[in-house]
């Protein structure tokens, strides 16, 4: 049976009037975008795209690409954005370039000004970045006189572009802690406006590399200024076994107070972005045939060889972290990894472009096909990354207050780029007819908790059931299937995982791992695909067939699209190169991860 794309678009747009009545709307954004104020962005081909321009692009206005000078514009604007530049030497490159007088009172400032003229901008970047990697930052470049004006500009860009109801901006930055090259980075943003944000300067890894110190600062600053914060760890895949390990920075087993502090500030984790996907690996989930998606494990060891020793993978990936969280919870009474899941780009071009056919580069430099083989981050080039990362938020309205609350309650989810709509409700009373109710969200909220929530105290003899809806991105490919990923803790304190197919497209029968694959319509010569396979919408109510009311558990959805072309293939076609030269997959199966729902006895 051939289905036409047009029909599916029509179906999706007809669905809109129903959702008007729903208690929450779906908003799309990116909480992790760098502008030219990040030193590495500047050094790698983005000298011009500043925070203000980044916001304007996200709102749908045309801008000039900072590297290839093409006029670029988003077909579908975002609903919200956080420009999150590295706090470390934020905006310094601009100050050196512009020969700013604030640098003249600093020895290192004078040195860098001279270096710019004699050796060029890259040398300046490597010199400054090197001082951080070595753990010997230049104190005379971290003064308030140098940092405040830059921070003020970032605040001003967010404030001018914030339009409640239409487009939301958050004031934020990135704390780029990187002990020994291990990525412990966190995005931070506040719910408050510029007046509050001006009362502090972004906490930076030059203040401390340790997450515990960072949380202390959030706590203290929150108390002093009234600002609340959301901090978002990301790229656990290249954290060298540190992001979700079972000890604190001093090497002691995680305590209840560590767990609670962490969860106070880090409600969600960014599990998919341009530098790879952090859901799970084949080695961790051997029975999951869709694990090992967009693997990227180039740890950012500057100037040194890539770490040869094998990091603890269970500490690098989100699913194993969610499982470990149950184990620690049972031992200490608190779960340090009770996080929701989001995606974001981590693009350094100032352009939030997460879609494979519309990918404008991780950096400016690799935004054109000819430059995809250039090393832009240590040991990695543009071919090895993919256009990825969006965060979807279920909220009442598009305002700072409403979106921020949704992050705190984890009613958010991740996609690897496409905008598929995913609803998940858990409760004890859902039945099959709920899946066909016109007011699906109303039923969901009425009888259960939404994604990110908790279930507890199962009534005698009852089993959790889940109301699930996945709708394709109107401008993108059909859906292959919806899966439920369950993790649980047995009586001996060991955690387990299992992936259930809960809805399959094209009327396929569920045979577990032997289920027929959805197929592949991608034409390897032209890069075109057809929506002749897969479904536009998958809706179901699923009941856990293996529920044990005495066991801790979590449940999250994974929604898979049908295969579509990866940017590498489109660029190979553009360059007239044989695909094998590119040495990366031609197709990609994009996906969404919901935030989990937890069950506690």
């Amino acid at each position: 049976m051939i289905k036409k794309t047009l029909i599916s678009i029509a179906v999706a747009s007809m669905a809109v009037p129903y959702t008007y009545a729903a208690p929450t709307q779906l908003y799309w954004g990116d909480t992790h975008l760098h502008s030219s104020y990040s030193g590495d962005a500047f050094a790698m081909g983005n000298e011009t795209l500043d925070p203000d321009t980044a916001y304007r692009f996200a709102k749908g206005q045309p801008v000039i690409h900072p590297f290839n000078r093409v006029r670029v514009q988003l077909n579908r604007p975002l609903d919200f954005l956080v420009v999150a530049d590295h706090a470390e030497y934020m905006g310094l490159m601009q100050l050196v370039r512009d020969k700013s007088s604030v640098l003249e009172n600093s020895e290192n400032g004078k040195r860098l000004l001279e270096m710019w003229d004699t050796k060029g901008s890259k040398s300046v970047y490597y010199d400054a970045a090197g001082s951080i990697v070595k753990g010997q930052p230049y104190d005379d470049l971290l003064t308030q006189a140098i940092r405040q004006p830059v921070w003020d500009k970032i605040i001003a860009a967010a404030e001018t572009n914030n339009e409640p109801g239409t487009f939301t901006t958050f004031i934020g930055w990135e704390w780029s802690s990187m002990p020994g090259g291990a990525n412990l980075h966190r995005i931070v943003f506040t719910d408050k406006n510029g007046d509050t944000a001006k009362q502090f300067l972004p906490y930076s890894s030059t203040d401390s590399n340790r997450p515990e110190d960072f949380w202390n600062w959030l706590d203290k600053t929150s108390g002093e200024t009234g600002a609340d914060f959301v901090a978002i760890p990301h790229n656990s895949n290249i954290s060298n076994g540190l992001m979700f390990n079972d000890v604190d920075s001093n090497g002691h087993p995680i305590s209840a107070s560590y767990a609670r502090t962490r969860m106070r500030w880090e409600p969600v984790a960014e599990v998919t972005q341009i530098k790879g996907d952090s859901e799970t690996r084949s080695s961790l989930s051997p029975n999951d045939s869709f694990a090992e998606f967009e693997t990227f494990d180039h740890v950012m060891t500057f100037g040194a060889k890539e770490q040869a020793e094998e990091a603890d993978q269970a500490s690098n990936y989100a699913r194993s972290a969610l499982k470990r969280g149950l184990e620690i919870d049972a031992k200490t009474g608190a779960n340090p990894f009770k996080f929701g899941m989001i995606g974001s780009t981590d693009s350094h071009t100032g352009l939030s472009t997460a879609s494979e056919p519309n990918f404008w580069g991780k950096f400016g430099l690799d935004s054109i096909p000819e430059n995809k083989d250039k090393e832009t981050t240590p040991h990695a080039d543009g071919w090895s990354m993919s256009a990825a990362g969006m965060v979807a938020v279920w909220a009442e309205q598009n305002t700072r207050e409403s979106l921020f609350a949704a992050f705190k309650r984890k009613e958010v989810y991740a996609t690897t780029g496409p905008r598929m709509q995913v609803r998940l409700f858990g409760g004890f009373d859902f039945n099959a007819t709920d899946a066909s109710d016109n007011d699906l969200a109303g039923v969901g909220y009425g009888k259960g908790v939404a994604m990110g929530g908790d279930l507890s105290h199962a009534p005698e003899g009852k089993t959790p059931s889940f109301l699930i809806q996945a709708v394709k991105d109107p401008d993108d490919a059909n859906l292959d299937r919806v899966q439920m990923v369950k993790g649980w803790l047995d009586a001996d304190g060991n955690s387990h995982e299992k992936v259930f197919n809960v809805a399959l497209s094209d009327g396929r029968e569920d045979l577990g791992a032997d289920t027929l694959p959805v197929g592949n319509t991608v034409n390897l010569e032209t890069g075109h695909y057809r929506n002749s396979i897969g479904d536009e919408e998958l809706v179901t109510v699923w009941q856990d067939p293996e529920f044990d009311a005495s066991q801790r558990a979590f449940y999250y959805l994974r929604v898979l699209q049908i295969p579509t072309p990866r940017h590498t293939m489109l660029d190979a076609v553009a360059l007239g190169k044989p695909r094998d030269d590119v040495n990366h997959p031609a197709t990609i199966q994009e996906r969404a991860y919901s935030s989990p729902i937890w069950y506690t006895p």
Binding site: D140, S255, N335, F428, G446, K447, V449, G453, S456, H457
Partner: protein, 291 residues
């Protein structure tokens, strides 16, 4: 003329130079003084260099590391040492170290490092001392209380301040009258900004969602899995609460967290000793205040 001379920094610099040179004459050894363009690389020099680099002052360790180095590594070390020494002497010859605040700070840090290094080596870890330390610092290890509850939320009506309270009172009767269970709470009330169920959450976390007043009222409740309590007032409206579990805050047993306490004790002792060493240096000086 005299006045301008006194104000001239160059003169000060020269005078200072004479002073320094004089001191150098008294303290510098005979052979080193012979040729200021000679850099002597001996075992002592390398060991000192290594310890500063590692920011750890332990001669025995450094000695072992030096002996276990391969030929290449040792050459690299010598190369680094010579390079640093040469640049340092040149900078000194140019007078770059005078009146430089960064060098002043670095010198202070250097002494602090030395004091710290000395302190690290004199730390004792007697078992009873560690436990005494734990008893003196019990509050550092306090683990907060936690609550598990569900709630039915009744939104404030902006036009009628009593309406929400009245609705809450009616609903409370209904919930308890019908013996509505924990898991059935979702069928009642309005949508709240955050969660429906809160599992093992601390007072601070709860306050970050409901506000301080709610937290305080919750702390007055007794856990009861079959009773709806309230209404509790928050900034958002009224809440009917079923509090199923409360775990009081506590300090864990010493034996459960011994390794953490030991490390804290070590750091604490080092700080004390370092501070003491610095204090002794400061006390050698007579301070005159001309304010």
């Amino acid at each position: 003329m005299i006045r301008t001379l006194i104000k001239d920094p160059l003169l000060h610099f020269m005078l200072l130079g004479v002073c320094l040179f004089g001191v150098y004459n008294l303290t510098g050894s005979e052979e080193k003084q012979l040729d200021k363009n000679t850099i002597v690389v001996d075992r002592d020099a390398l060991l000192t260099f290594m310890q500063y680099r590692a920011r750890q002052f332990n001669a025995k360790d450094a000695s072992q590391r030096l002996d276990s180095m391969s030929g290449d590594e040792r050459e690299q070390l010598i190369h680094d040492f010579v390079r640093e020494e040469a640049l340092y002497r040149e900078a000194q010859a140019l007078g770059m170290s005078d009146n430089d605040y960064i060098i002043r700070r670095r010198s202070v840090q250097k002494l602090e490092f030395i004091a710290q290094g000395v302190a690290e080596q004199t730390v004792s870890m007697a078992a009873d001392k560690v436990e005494t330390y734990f008893n003196d610092h019990r509050q550092d290890y306090y683990e907060e209380a936690s609550y598990t509850f569900t709630h039915v939320f009744i939104k404030n009506d902006p036009g009628d301040s009593d309406a929400a309270r009245q609705r809450a009172a009616d609903l409370l009767q209904q919930l308890n009258g019908q013996q509505v269970e924990f898991s059935a709470a979702t069928r009642f009330g309005d949508r709240f900004l955050y969660h429906r169920n809160y599992v093992e959450r601390t007072p601070d976390f709860i306050a970050s969602h409901f506000g301080d007043a709610f937290r305080n009222q919750l702390s007055q409740m007794k856990p009861d899995r079959h009773q709806w309590q309230g209404p509790v007032t928050s900034a958002y409206g009224q809440h009917l609460v079923m509090l199923s579990n409360y775990t009081p805050g506590k300090v864990p047993e010493f034996t459960d967290i011994r390794s953490r306490v030991e490390q804290d004790y070590r750091i604490w002792q080092q700080r004390q000793k370092q501070e003491l060493a610095i204090q002794q240096i400061v006390e050698q000086y007579h301070v005159e205040k001309h304010l």
